[in-house]
Amino acid sequence: MASRQFATFEVDGQLFGVEVHTVQEVLSYNEYTPVPLAPKAVGGLFNLRGQVIAAVDLRVQLGLARQALQGPVMNVILRGDGEPVSLLVDKIGEVVDLDDETFEPPPDTLSGPTRELVVGTFKLDGRLMLALDVNQAVDTYRATN
């Protein structure tokens, strides 16, 4: 039985997950430098041990209002393609082991921006976790704005 590990997090009450191997680390950070004229989904830049990391606001990517960025916000830092990128999320969940048989394609009723970011649904005990397409999720040039 094949199973995969997912790091989970919440945005707007919905549980999302990305495969653990795509995640570099998870941390909360206070100060973001805004980038004027950048795509709306860019939350800002922050300093991760001397490295400049771009934070992508997952709320904006999902068609929601942007993070206020006042006070600490949780970052899921993805390894990315050569350069790490961070996803700003509401809340961090736990790491879960999921069997492939709990997987189903996204429901047909799911539409809008969320549909483009989601590759499928995992049925957990009591709730559903949407598995994110990592590349889509950090693509700030998607036509949401």
Binding site: E31, T33, V35, L37, V42, N47, V52, I53, A54, Y141
Partner: protein, 789 residues
């Protein structure tokens, strides 16, 4: 490369180095066909390649090298003379060797490269009739006699009589003459050596050591020792240098970058605490960091010669094919540049050189008609200038045709005809850097297709440099590249705009102007903001507007007078904070499209700051080409190099601080009891004004004992009707200093350090010192402190 084995890898690397040297030597040999030194050196280099390739069983390579060697040996022995044709064939041979090596490197085999046609050419050259046969041996003998004292080891005369061992590989340039060594060792008399040298000049073919020994003027053991010490310098150079992986250097550089950053943060923190012991330690840490940084930078520096070395060949081939005569002169070969920058400059420079040969220098007939020598001169010049390296490509050709450039620019729709009339000729010349611009009457395979100059410009600007051109009709054209010394760490000004902080590379900043809305103000020319800078209108960009932020007011703001793309403009920001060295971090690729940012950096408070790309800011804000332009060449010339500057030397604590005398208005002593307080600031009443005091000791962090006595020494500095008094412990002297002996300093308000009267002295940048001490100084001063107009 890995599977080839270490020996082959080393052979390839060594051979590539050798081949570059051979290229250069062959081109020089064409200039001085009688130089036996050059022939011998080329011969040895080819011989080495031949020997090693035989050993490694690269038979085709060996065969080709052998053919080249045979031809060279005929030249060396004077059997046939050096002609341009021979040189061409030898260069072709070298190219053949190169492609064999490339094939070995890529595919591990040499079998697919055609060498037979080259060998046929070489053989044809060897069988070519040679009229010069008779005079050749004579020509060969002459330089041998001339060079006898220095190039002793090379003379083919056997050294039978002496017990000295023959020197294995002569290293002519590095060697001291044998006679000098003997004299210095006390083994021979200067008089005897001169006599022996005189004998050699008069035709005695014996070697210097032999003559001295024969005449009983020295001992065999001493000659032996001297010959060995002659060979020594080469060995010691080989022992004292090691090869280091460039990646390792890059890693070290990155780490030093982090250290600089950590130091900035620490120094800032310590300044806030204000503990004098800690401040001193922090400053020491700062010094050490700077030295370390300089040291690491130095390991990455390479002389520009590395990229110039290929150019003699380029010039030769191109001028031959165009039927032109071009002499290449190189000045400042030793000028060093960061390795990564050298790479980036290589192609633009090659393009400029090709362009100069193709379009700059005329053919011999036209030169003769213009009353110039038939041989054109192309000069490459490299030198340091104010934190930059300038590289010039200068030809003595016909010069740029300004009228034709203007006509072309109008034709291409880049300029309106009415604009041309008012334009400076240098501005018109700068049009050649526009994409798609070429005035070449005909397109050659070298240049003239309109791709090139704009690419040169883009490439150089990508590394933070600048390109300019100046030309005098009939006398020639000078292309000038200004290149930063390094990419990784830059001097920058931090500024506030709205709630955010941005970083502006200091190289682009000419001056700062404070706008109080009264004596200085922003005006509008039908909606476009401008400022009258010393009577001329300066177009303004509001940074907040350019960044799409909320637009602020026109009062209490600063104008940064910037220069980019040879264009001058002002940028309005809310506050100018300070200057610091920042480490440039690459910006995430997703922001490249915005184009406004040159990178990011970590500021002293640990936050990320965006570094503004001044030239794209200017472009995006649609500053038209007819807005005020300032020629880069003229500007840098005006600022002058190495001129003497008069400095007022003062003592601040234990430190010496020099202030440019031309910024000093008066020197005064004030009784301490006359110092009053206005807000948090110390002031004195002075000639009907209220004069604010800036204590240099506080500013420079030199906390020490307050000097004894009832008075304080101040240096009064005035600008634009405002004055400020800089408090020092004591005035020491007035000294002259050449600006050359400087080192950049890392602290606010200091330009650098220099040695004046045997003491390390810091050079104060007065304007910036005041700004650093109190960014609001100018506003307060003009609003309420200066009573008298």
């Amino acid at each position: 490369m890995e599977d080839l084995g270490e020996i082959v890898g080393e052979f390839l690397m060594e051979s590539h180095e050798n081949l570059d040297q051979i290229d250069r030597d062959l081109v020089s040999l064409e200039q001085e066909p009688d130089s036996r030194d050059l022939i011998s050196r080329i011969f040895r280099a080819i011989h080495t390649i031949k020997g090693t390739s035989g050993f490694l069983a690269f038979s085709r390579l060996e065969k080709l090298a052998h053919a080249g060697e045979s031809l060279l040996s005929r030249l060396r022995d004077g059997v046939q003379p050096v002609t341009p044709e021979t040189i061409t064939v030898l260069l072709v041979t070298i190219d053949g060797v190169r492609s064999l090596l490339a094939s070995i490197e890529e595919k591990g085999t040499e079998s697919e490269v055609d060498i037979d046609s080259i060998i046929v050419k070489v053989n044809a050259q060897m069988n070519a009739p040679t009229e010069a046969k008779a005079e050749a041996p004579a020509a060969a003998a002459a330089p041998a006699a001339e060079a006898a004292p220095a190039a002793d080891g090379e003379a083919p005369v056997p050294l039978d009589e002496t017990p000295a061992r023959p020197v294995p590989e002569p290293v002519a340039e590095q060697r001291q003459p044998l006679g000098q060594i003997l004299v210095e060792a006390g083994a021979a008399q200067p008089g005897d050596v001169s006599t022996a040298l005189q004998q050699q000049i008069e035709g005695d073919e014996r070697k210097l050591g032999t003559i001295l020994l024969d005449e009983g003027k020295t001992q065999p053991a001493a000659v032996n020792e001297a010959l060995q010490s002659q060979a020594a310098p080469k060995r010691s150079i080989a022992d004292s240098a090691i090869r280091v992986d460039v990646d390792l250097l890059d890693t070290l550089l990155n780490m030093v970058g982090e250290l600089v950053l950590a130091r900035n943060q620490l120094v800032r923190g310590v300044m806030e605490i204000g503990d004098s012991g800690l401040v001193r330690s922090a400053q020491r840490l700062g010094m050490i960091t700077s030295e370390l940084q300089a040291g690491i930078m130095k390991t990455r520096m390479q002389p520009i010669e590395h990229i110039w070395s290929k150019l003699p060949r380029v010039v030769r081939d191109l001028s031959n094919s165009l039927g032109k005569q071009v002499q290449l002169v190189m000045q400042g070969k030793d000028t060093e540049l960061d390795r990564s920058l050298l790479e980036a400059v290589k192609d633009p420079l090659t393009h400029l050189v090709r362009n100069a040969v193709d379009h700059g220098i005329e053919d011999p007939e036209r030169r003769a008609a213009a009353g110039k020598g038939t041989e054109g001169t192309l000069t490459l010049r490299a030198y340091h200038e104010g934190g930059h390296v300038a590289v010039e490509v200068a030809d003595d050709g016909a010069g740029l045709d300004v009228d034709r450039i203007a006509a072309k620019a109008v034709e291409k729709g880049l300029l309106r005809p009415d604009q041309v009339a008012n334009m400076d000729r240098r501005d018109i010349m700068a049009m050649v850097f526009q994409p798609g611009f070429s005035t070449a009457a005909k397109v050659t395979n070298v240049s003239g297709r309109g791709v090139g100059m704009d690419v040169v410009k883009t490439n150089i600007e990508n590394i933070g440099g600048a390109v300019s051109v100046d030309s005098t009709p009939g006398e020639g054209t000078v292309w000038r590249l200004t290149i930063p010394l390094t990419l990784a760490i830059i001097q920058a000004l931090t500024v506030d705009c709205g709630e955010h902080r941005y970083v502006v590379p200091q190289v682009a900043v000419l001056e700062l102007v404070f706008i109080d809305g009264q004596s200085t103000k922003i005006e509008y020319a039908s909606g476009a903001p401008v400022y009258r800078l010393r009577g001329k209108l300066l177009p303004l960009i509001r940074l907040d507007r350019a960044l799409g932020l909320e637009v602020g007011g026109d009062q209490g703001v600063y104008i940064m007078v910037l220069q980019a793309d040879g264009r001058r403009f002002g940028m309005v920001v809310d506050r100018v904070l300070n200057t610091e060295e920042v480490v440039v971090k690459a910006l995430n690729t997703r922001f490249k499209d915005i184009g406004l940012y040159a990178g990011a950096t970590i500021l002293g408070d640990g936050k990320v700051g965006l570094i503004l790309d001044v030239s794209s800011l200017a472009r995006r804000s649609h500053l038209a080409v007819d807005s005020e332009r300032e020629n880069v060449v003229a500007n840098s010339k005006a600022s002058g190099e190495g001129k003497m500057q008069r400095l007022l030397v003062t003592a601040v604590g234990e430190r010496r601080v020099a202030i440019p005398l031309d910024t000093v208005t008066r020197l005064e002593e004030f009784p301490k009891d006359r110092i009053e307080h206005a807000g948090s600031r110390e002031v004195v009443q002075y000639r009907g004004q209220i004069l604010p005091l800036v204590r240099l000791s506080h500013l420079l962090g030199a906390y020490g004992e307050e000097p004894e006595g009832d008075t304080v020494s101040v240096v009064v500095y005035s600008e634009g009707g405002r004055s400020v008094a800089l408090v020092v412990d004591r005035i020491v002297d007035i000294a002259e200093n050449s600006t050359a002996a400087r080192r950049d300093a890392e602290e606010d308000g200091l330009v650098g350090t220099a040695v004046i009267q045997q003491r390390v002295t810091e050079l104060l940048d007065v304007r910036r010192a005041i700004l650093a001490a109190d960014p609001n100084f100018y506003s307060d001063a003009s609003d309420d402190m200066l009573v008298e107009a």
